[in-house]
Symmetry: C2
Subunit: 171 residues, 2 copies
């Protein structure tokens, strides 16, 4: 697995990579709480490249809410698509340009889904497969998040908000 | 415009609404930086209900990055769809169940796109209409965010991550 450079060191930057002229982690202007954890079969070493590969490989995937958040699930339904937001802090947030393994050339952080970004909030669209509103457990069809990843939010997926206008599969 | 109850007060809760047994704002475990601002024609009083209405009404919409973030745009293209993440803190984060005007009955926060939520991070899918990588300005086709809203992230929209599996428009 790739080791990311730690903030403050410059010796682990790959060729073609660039840093921001500051560390975004030093500029906190708003605070997030963790509302629960993501459960998945994934850990360092066996993690899929992305959500599509996670879906293909399959497994037991669920969102476990912390006590007190259960009531906020009211109205969600099995079969519904949701946006899952989670926290993927990998130790640095300073890279402006990155050279991930799959990219042919260095690319800007905002043109990548890399977890290394000024605000390491990741998101993916999943489908609810089971719902336990007493214990705050939401089964989902797939996620590419590591087991134990902090959960930030669940939102209903809405085509007019979450798909580009006029988008067609295969386009 | 709806006035949301302030944390700690209970007198502005509507019938059917419920609070979390704690204030998520008191549980900060991670920090966000603002990477820029959203520019739009919208302010209190003239704001569209959602991204679809914003798109229909039209206007001048853009993302203005703070100095230093420009380089992270490399690789984005005009015409490309992006996920725009922004901060929509409206003064409270305590509601578990809400009764928004458009909903027939009270609904859980995780079943709504309301800005009132434990982590008030909003997101919508926009299309890049212009790109100035020298000054860090990204024109987009639409957003429903107020003018001046703090920007958190830009990500490329990817069908296999951001659309439900098998989803078809009109389904």
């Amino acid at each position: 697995m790739r080791r990311w450079p730690m903030p403050g060191s410059s010796d682990e930057i790959r060729e073609g990579e660039q840093r921001f002229p500051f560390d975004p982690a030093d500029r906190t202007e708003a605070g997030l709480c963790f509302i629960g954890r993501i459960r998945s079969p994934w850990s360092k070493g066996n993690c899929p490249k992305n959500l599509r590969e996670a879906r293909e490989r399959g497994g037991d995937f669920r969102l476990e809410l912390d006590e007190g958040y259960e009531g906020a699930l009211r109205g969600l339904k099995v079969g519904q698509a949701i946006q899952v937001l989670y926290w993927v802090d990998r130790g640095t947030r300073v890279l402006a340009v990155q050279t991930p393994g799959h990219a042919p050339e260095p690319r800007g952080t905002f043109a990548l889904r890399s977890p290394v970004r000024p605000n390491p909030v990741a998101l993916g669209t999943s489908v609810i497969t089971s719902l336990d509103t007493d214990y705050g457990i939401v089964g989902i069809d797939a996620t590419d998040a590591f087991d134990g990843t902090p959960l930030l939010d669940i939102k209903p997926w809405i085509a007019t908000v979450d798909a580009p206008p006029g988008w067609r599969p295969g386009a």
